[in-house]
């Protein structure tokens, strides 16, 4: 078992003929993901990596038999076009959206998330490496498959490479993952720590959760509060990046900034610790904490 993705996941790739779209379609298929359709306006009728390409999402939905239609959508198109494409996906009945695109204007992200709420769609990202469920052979994203192992730990992260670092050390220590979800490095994203924790908490295939957070905003503090108020029973572990980051400076990610004393690593570590979450000081400590908890 896993969250968001499973063996029934059928993926549509928006922007499949672009460099990233093509490269990652190949990698997703190699991992075992069912990529059933690609969309690039003007390129309909061609194919990429054996995947049929359509001019629009609606055309793809019409062109495929009912049982073979995509139920999950991944977006690689440039920022100015991502909102429009996401609306098209939701209007076409898709309820799982993974938005890899970086630099989407925050107003677009806010409108998009409000519409996703209205449509009851799950949005992962934007600016995310995506989602992977190793045991289900399903990957919708750009993560390097080689570092993941099937297992029973749920990983939730705001980062990219740092996630691979954490996951790799977990895998080396024998802790595989049920699902790993990248929330995205932008200020406004779809799925939050709270929603991901709830999904993992309800998933029989997950025994514990690892959160990889960073400075900026209060998503980790809110998650800490939620762990207590919602009575999350499965153990939660965390690593927070940016303890030494100076205030007021944007540390790479658009969302990684301490503003007016808010969003510090210290405040996050404190809130999580108070909620019973074991917080690692360096990424490699996570495995030791998992072992220590008897997992």
């Amino acid at each position: 078992m896993a969250i968001i993705l499973d063996r029934d996941t059928r993926v549509m790739v928006q922007g499949i003929t672009g460099h990233q779209g093509t490269q990652h379609t190949r990698a997703m298929k190699e991992f075992g993901t069912a990529v059933v359709a690609g969309v690039t306006p003007g390129k309909g009728g061609t194919s990429v990596e054996g995947v049929p390409v359509f001019n629009s999402i609606a055309e793809a939905m019409r062109g495929l038999p009912a049982g073979a239609r995509p139920n999950t959508w991944i977006c690689f198109v440039p920022a100015p076009f991502a909102k429009d494409a996401s609306y098209e996906a939701m209007e076409s009945g898709i309820r799982k959206l993974v938005i890899i695109t970086e630099h989407i204007p925050v107003q677009d992200a806010m409108q998009l998330m409000a519409y996703a709420d209205y449509k009851k769609a799950v949005v992962v990202g934007p600016n995310t490496p995506g989602v992977i469920s190793p045991g289900e052979r399903a990957k919708v994203g750009i993560m390097p498959a080689a570092v993941f192992r099937p297992g029973r730990i749920g990983v939730i992260s705001r980062s990219g490479t740092l996630t691979y670092e954490v996951v790799n050390s977990m895998s080396e220590a024998g802790f595989g993952q049920s699902t790993c979800i990248g929330l995205g490095g932008d200020p406004v994203v779809g799925t939050s720590f709270i929603e991901a924790l709830d999904m993992f908490n309800a998933d029989p295939g997950t025994d514990a959760m690892v959160m990889v957070g960073e400075i900026g905003g209060s998503a980790e503090e809110n998650a800490a509060e939620h762990i207590v108020s919602a009575g999350i029973r499965k153990p939660v572990f965390a690593y927070i990046a940016g303890r030494t980051a100076p205030p007021g400076r944007r540390m790479g990610h658009a969302g990684a900034i301490v503003l007016r004393g808010r969003g510090t690593a210290e405040s996050k570590v404190k809130a999580l610790t108070a909620a019973g979450v074991k917080v690692a000081r360096v990424p490699s400590e996570i495995s030791g904490l998992l072992k220590g908890a008897g997992l």
């Binding site: 992200a109 998330m113 990046a241 790479g252």
Partner: protein, 368 residues
């Protein structure tokens, strides 16, 4: 992108919000006449201008020119004043506060208003601030505005003007792709007219493709950070003496933190990003060298990026130009064995874990 007050004011005026008449000058001689008493305000992207002598009043043209001369050239919180806004002096009976900003946790715009304007909103007691989220699908609604006027206990004519301004402020917020539009104070004049006596605007950097016209305030960054920005390299200069380069923002922060735990001080945040292009690696190293670190700590996790291609870029730059400082490298992931050989051949000190690399770098920084 933070805008200067003058441009923030232009945005408000463009959306129909009343603002005092004013003009920007960068020398006393540029001022050829004033219509009445004025206020001369330093155009710097920082708060606390008044206390620093950057806001002064004048009644005549001579006085105004003198004030302009006094303020230009001042340094306020590290920012040199290059121009001033000379603006009609507003008689203020009452000061209100009004702003709309992006609330990242709610994923919505947040409207904030207070009857206690003219001071930093951070110092206003929570119960004195009216806060409401604006759902982007429906926008700001009339009931919210009635609620606002009631909460601030505004008499009807003032309440109507404030509501109208709030509505226009939200239109401006959406149309201009703002992250923040703040009017503080929103001035109520003795006759009851409401005017935006100040304007703060922050525009979303990611929206600039649809707003090509903005003039950025002199960015609040070092010349080296500016150079990195022009080359598309994510780089922040820090106080320490160890140059940190890694791939991915999160991993770069984590590397700096690991260094902090063993008593080392990071001097740079340099995120190589997803690239393995040797040319990009070279450029990144050149920026790093210009920051003159005592030691360089490189931490690469090759997931999508091939470690050996990154290593080749590093090898080339170190061989041809020198690193300028000892380099401790930890490289892990795809093709890591080959990468380590390449780095050793380039004369770099290699480590297998982030902690070990951090320890070695910290030790070297104390010896050097």
């Amino acid at each position: 992108m933070k805008l200067m007050e003058a441009e923030g004011r232009e945005i408000l005026a463009r959306h129909g919000i009343p603002v005092p008449a004013g003009r920007v000058v960068s020398a006393p001689g540029e001022l050829d006449g004033i219509a009445g008493p004025v206020v001369v305000k330093a155009l710097v992207p920082v708060g606390g201008r008044g206390k620093a002598g950057g806001v002064k009043f004048a009644g005549t043209l001579e006085e105004a020119r003198a004030r302009v001369g006094e303020i230009i050239g001042l340094e306020i919180k590290g920012c040199r004043v290059r121009s001033v806004l000379v603006s009609e002096k507003v008689d203020i009976a009452r000061e209100l506060y009004l702003s709309i900003s992006v609330d990242r946790d709610a994923g919505m715009a947040l409207l904030m208003a207070s009857a206690l304007g003219g001071m930093d909103i951070e110092s206003v007691p929570e119960e004195k601030i009216y806060r409401r989220y604006i759902n982007p699908l429906i926008g700001l609604q009339s009931y919210q505005l009635r609620d606002l006027a009631g909460h601030l206990a505004l008499e009807k004519p003032v309440g109507q003007q404030v509501s109208d301004i709030a509505r226009k402020l939200y239109s401006a917020f959406v149309a201009e792709d703002a992250e923040l539009l703040e009017i503080n104070p929103l001035a109520v004049m003795p006759g009851g007219k409401v005017v935006a006596a100040d304007a703060k605007a922050v525009i979303d950097d990611d929206s600039l493709f649809r707003h090509p016209g903005h003039r950025e305030v002199e960015p609040d960054i070092t010349p080296l950070e500016q150079e990195a920005r022009e080359r598309g390299i994510s780089f922040v200069q820090l106080d320490g003496n160890i140059g940190v380069i890694a791939n991915g923002a999160g991993l770069t922060m984590a590397t700096l933190d690991a260094l902090g735990l063993v008593g080392g001080n990071g001097g740079t945040f340099l995120d190589l990003g997803g690239t393995d292009d040797p040319e990009k690696v070279k450029q990144a190293f050149r920026i790093l060298k210009k920051a003159r670190p005592k030691v360089i700590l490189m931490n690469i996790f090759g997931g999508i990026t091939r470690c050996d291609t990154v290593a080749t870029g590093v090898h080339e730059v170190v061989r041809s130009e020198g690193a300028g400082a000892p380099v401790v490298a930890r490289i892990k992931g795809w093709y890591e064995e080959r990468a380590r050989e390449i780095l050793k051949d380039a004369g770099l000190i290699t480590a297998t874990t982030m902690e070990e690399a951090a320890r070695k770098a910290a030790e070297l920084s104390r010896e050097a």
